[in-house]
Symmetry: C2
Subunit: 211 residues, 2 copies
Amino acid sequence: MTGYLDDIRVDPSEIAAQEALYGPLTQSIRSLIDAAIRTEVDSEDIAGATAALTQVASLLRARQIDGSYGAQPSVTGVQRSWASPVIGVRNPIAPPLILEHEPDGRVWARFRLGAGYEGPPSLVHGGVSALILDHVLGEAVHASGHWGMTGTLTLRYRRPTPLNRPLRADARIDRVEGRKVYADGSISDERGITVEASGIFILPTGYAAAR
Amino acid sequence: MTGYLDDIRVDPSEIAAQEALYGPLTQSIRSLIDAAIRTEVDSEDIAGATAALTQVASLLRARQIDGSYGAQPSVTGVQRSWASPVIGVRNPIAPPLILEHEPDGRVWARFRLGAGYEGPPSLVHGGVSALILDHVLGEAVHASGHWGMTGTLTLRYRRPTPLNRPLRADARIDRVEGRKVYADGSISDERGITVEASGIFILPTGYAAAR
C-alpha cells in the first residue's frame, strides 16, 4: 500500500490541464448550490433554470463512467482525490479545502463555508465539521506514510462554528501502535478552536503497514 | 424553545407549492453534481456546460437573500430544514434523507449515496457517515421534544459502508440528564450495521429545557 507521498506519479502537465478543464465546471455547480438555496427569483425563472440545468446534466451524461469515480482502475495518484466531498477538484459538494502539508507532518487548510453547509442559523452544521475533520485527520495519517480507514472518530464541539467567516482546520498524528494510527485535529475560527477531533485510523487486515 | 413537533405551523398548501417549485431545481443540481464527477464528454462540451451553468447561476442570483437561508427571520417551521445539507429540499448537497418518525421517538431513513459521497473506492466517505449520523441523532433529540446542539459525537466504524446500495440510518434518544440529551444511532446496509454513533446534545445556556 502506498502512502500519500508516493501518490504523485502522473504527468504534472496533464494533471494541470485536466484541473483547468474540470475546475471551472465544478466551481459553476458550487455556485449553483449556493444560488439554489438563496435565490428569490420568481417561479417562472426557477422553472426556466430547472429546465436549462436538466438539459446540461443530460449533455454531461452523454458519455460517463459507470458508478463512482474512485472505482475506475485508471484513477491513480493525485486524481484519486478529485471526487472527494471535502477536497475534490471534480466534486461540487467539496468547499473545497486546499490542504497544506508541513515538513513535520502537520496538515492544515484555510477555508470558508457558505449557505450550503448551514446547521443552526448562521452556523456550520455540526456534521459538516465532522466530515471535514474526518478527512483532514485521514490526510495527516496519509502524510505520515501510513494508510488506514477511520476506526473511531470523536468530536468535541466547544462552541459554534460560524458560516461565512475565515476558518482553519489542523491535524497531525499523535502516535502509531501496530495497525492503529492515532490522529488529532481541530477547526478554528478567528477566536480559536471551535471543534476538536481525535481519531483512530486502522490499516485493514491484508495490507502490510507502510514503511 | 420549540421541539420538532411544534414546527408545523405554516400553511401546508403554501409549503407544498414551494416544495413543488424548489424540489425539481434542487434535484437538477444534484444530478449535475453526480454528472460533473462521472462525465467523460470532450473538453468543448465541458466548456459549453460550464458557460451555460454560470449563466443560470447569474439568473438565480438576480434576486437573492443576503447570507445563509436559516438566518432569515421569516424562515420558521418546516422550512427551517430546507437548507440542511442532510435533509434539505433546497440544498443539492443533501442526498436528501427523508426522515420517518415513530410514535416511540425513533427516527429513521432509507437512502442511497452515489458518486458525490465517495471516500475509498466504491465506499461512502467516513465523514459523510458522520455528517448523516450527527443530523439523524439531532433529529431524534428534537423529536423527543428537546433541543440542543451537538456537544460530543463518537463514531465507531465497524466495516465499510457501500456506495450505490440501499442504506438505512436509525437514531433514538437514550436518556436526558439536565441540559444533556444522550442519543444513539447507526447506519446499516443490507448485511447490518456499518457505523455506530453516540452523541451528547446540549441545550445552550440561556434556553430553558423544553417540556
